[in-house]
């Protein structure tokens, strides 16, 4: 049976993605920070879907340890490993981060540098094998910087460009790179926040991710209408946009 590696497995979207793959009979390798949560997830997926699960401790904020935590699962899974899905995101507190370097670092390192470190390792692995897919969750926030979340947006924008370049490099090795840009999703990240609209469920997003991977898409907005919302938003001239309070 094919397997898939999920980085950041304990987040709600990751759980839904893992469930989606498990329901299609993929074995899972769940990588995340909390052993307690990983074990609970492993038990649950194995009981519900009857697939094999392996867990791996992985902390995106400690890139020095990525090689040692990821290489073993990549190698052990061998030929069966179909691909990797990176579901890591940290919205953080924009207001706090503006004055606090620790929070700024956390936002940038979780969403960008830490994620890139992990993706580099998986990229090299799949390039050697000359097959597979790498899917990462970016965000519509990266499409345009706006005052309420531009640190998060900047990190995700960086990630999107990195994935674009990676897609270009790995095309020649027959490895697919999929960029997923969700809009608002009903998770801890958005819970309790005001002024949200068109919030999607993690399950709907997970189905979209699975379909995008299976159908060989490059860049996917989830749900689909965000592509057009961001298209319009990007058309707004800067001299007008800078006056808005979005």
């Amino acid at each position: 049976m094919p397997s898939v590696l999920i980085l950041g497995a304990t987040s709600m979207i990751a759980r839904a993605v893992a469930a989606e793959f498990a329901s299609h009979k993929y074995d899972l390798i769940l990588a995340g920070r909390s052993p307690e949560e990983l074990n609970a997830l492993a038990a649950d997926f194995s009981l519900r879907h009857g697939v094999r699960i392996r867990t791996q401790i992985f902390d995106v904020l400690h890139p020095e340890g990525h090689e040692s935590s990821l290489e073993p699962c990549l190698c052990e899974a061998g030929e069966a490993l179909a691909g990797v899905v990176l579901c890591i995101g940290y919205l953080g507190d924009q207001a706090v981060a503006q004055a606090d370097l620790t929070e700024t670092r956390r936002i940038l390192e979780t969403n960008f540098t830490g994620s890139v470190s992990a993706l580099n390792i998986t990229a090299n692995h799949f390039e050697r094998r000359r097959t597979g897919f790498i899917c990462a969750l970016s965000s519509v926030a990266g499409d345009r910087g706006r005052q309420s979340n531009y640190l998060y947006g900047a990190a995700k924008a960086g990630l999107s460009t990195y994935l674009q370049g990676l897609r270009n490099r790995l095309f020649h090795s027959n490895v697919r790179v999929i960029t997923v840009k969700p809009g608002f999703v009903d998770t801890r990240m958005t819970f309790g926040r005001p002024k949200l609209f068109l919030v999607a469920s993690p399950e709907a997003v997970a189905r979209g991710i699975y379909r995008a991977i299976v159908r060989g898409k490059d860049v996917v907005y989830l749900p689909w209408f965000w592509r057009w919302i961001m298209f319009v938003l990007r058309l707004v001239p800067e001299r007008m946009f800078k006056r808005l309070r979005l």
């Binding site: 304990t10 987040s11 709600m12 909390s34 307690e36 949560e37 609970a40 997830l41 038990a43 649950d44 009981l47 519900r48 919205l91 953080g92 507190d93 706090v96 929070e103 998770t187 801890r188 819970f191 309790g192 926040r193």
Partner: protein
């Protein structure tokens, strides 16, 4: 979690009866660590757990306080196929358990009338089903559970390990701590069907007579009662009693006896206007329901239709419109229960308040749960739309129930007074003592707890 602590949404919440509706601060943790962090955060004065919101009144509400929703803490943790023991988080709901384990030949040993309740809720309300006379409550099949105490400690509770806390938490409406996970004993079955005997009783006397005479022969027994019928027909009922169908009893046309039968799902997309339900329309419905049933024996009925008839209609509570309804459920001790039931039904019929079919079940012995509802005797449950004069009527009924030595079910209640509660639940003081030790700061509280006087306001 943001740098500023666990996020919450302030919104108007209600139970299934949509009465009362209260402003609460709703949390939705996604991991166990988050639950502990919420309790420790000190952001709210108190908290109560919320599952799928199927309690009818304010048991899972906390006005201007914290409400912790468990729907994302819903993982299966382990399953021992030989012993039939499932360990799962408290947010797992009974529908999920059936979905994954009935195909493997396991059913719930005790189930309430809806499968959309969480395991945590089932323990906290100590739910019972159509088989209480034989099997008791849900707690009878809970081997143990892990409770997050208000001081942050995680306690393992069972009838042998911390038994005081176990029996305070069973039926304790979430007021002793936060149930994190539990191990439950599932029951082996050979099919997803029940073989049912239907019998009509022309009045309450006949119904009670039939139940006391032959309930012993059945695993499951329930009577649907017409609460609007008067005179000689008062309490006319349709008895539905049965047992799980064994593989041998299945007709050949059913190829896979454990497969979930395909069912049509209906949905009530909007609230019905309040004029729709009145004693005329409901009276007519009840009469039709009674008339349409015939005596029949050994009918093959799928488990959904027998155990969860209302679950087929999503949002059926909208039948009662925006004003909502109260489900009045009482238990009366065996001695004097016929007189008590007659008194209650008579008073209700006189009030001409529309109540769809009431449900009457025989109850077996009480368990050691301090605030557990079932006592040996009978339980009657009926729905009453909220309208002027309802609350005084219910208080009048409460007094009647009190006089007959019965009690009201907290999981359904929305109007019980503290005085009535204290008299009808004699172990309240014992419960308060245990709660005071476990939760000296009163971190766990609900609108129900304050209303019936379990905690100070």
């Amino acid at each position: 979690m943001s740098a500023t602590g666990p996020g919450f949404v302030t919104q108007m919440l209600s139970g299934w009866g949509r009465f009362p509706v209260e402003r609460c601060h709703l949390y939705r943790p996604e991991s166990r660590a988050e639950v502990a962090a919420i309790l420790a955060s000190g952001t709210q004065r108190s908290y109560v757990s919320y599952g799928l919101g199927r309690s009818y009144g304010d048991a899972a509400l906390n006005r201007e306080g914290g409400v912790i929703c468990h729907t994302r803490l819903n993982r299966f943790l382990s399953f021992d196929e030989t012993a039939g023991v499932l360990e799962c988080e408290a947010g797992v709901n009974l529908a999920e358990i059936l979905r994954y384990f009935l195909p493997r030949g396991f059913f719930l040993p005790v189930t309430p009338g809806t499968k959309f309740v969480t395991v945590g809720g089932a323990i906290a309300a100590d739910v019972h089903g159509k088989n209480h006379h034989k099997d008791g409550t849900f707690a009878n099949f809970v081997l143990d559970f892990r409770l997050l105490a208000p001081n942050g400690e995680i306690l393992s509770c069972s009838p042998l390990d911390n038994p005081e806390i176990f029996w305070a938490t069973v039926g304790g409406m979430g007021l002793t701590g936060i149930i994190l996970s539990a191990r439950i004993q599932l029951r082996r079955v050979e099919s997803a069907y029940v073989l049912v005997d239907y019998q009509k009783a022309q009045n309450l006397d006949e119904a009670l007579g039939m139940m006391s005479e032959s309930n012993e022969h059945y695993q499951y027994s329930v009577a649907w009662i017409d609460c609007l019928a008067t005179g000689k027909s008062m309490g006319r009922a349709v008895l539905m009693r049965g047992d799980h169908a064994t593989a041998a009893q299945m007709p050949p046309r059913v190829r896979n006896p454990l497969a979930e039968p395909s069912r049509r799902r209906w949905n009530l997309p909007c609230d019905l206007p309040s004029v729709a339900l009145n004693s005329l329309t409901v009276g007519a419905f009840n009469a039709l329901y009674y008339a349409s049933h015939r005596n029949a024996s050994q009918q093959l009925v799928d488990f959904e239709k027998f155990f969860y008839p209302l679950d087929a209609i999503q949002n059926w509570n909208r039948l009662y419109g925006k004003r909502g309804f109260v489900q009045y459920q009482i238990a009366l001790p065996l001695e004097g229960s016929d007189a008590g039931l007659v008194a209650v039904l008579e008073r209700l019929a006189r009030s001409r308040r529309a109540s769809f079919l009431g449900v009457l079940k025989r109850l077996g012995n009480a368990n050691a749960g301090l605030l557990s509802f079932p006592i040996k005797g009978y339980t009657l449950a009926l729905d009453l739309p909220v309208s002027k004069g309802l609350v005084p009527l219910l208080h009048e009924l409460d007094q009647m129930v009190l006089r007959y030595g019965g009690r009201v079910y907290l999981a359904k209640d929305a109007v019980l007074t503290a005085e009535s509660f204290a008299v009808t639940y004699p172990k309240l003081e014992q419960f308060r003592g245990i709660k005071r030790k476990l939760d000296p700061k009163g971190l766990l509280a609900s609108s129900l707890a304050r209303r019936v006087g379990i905690v100070e306001t």
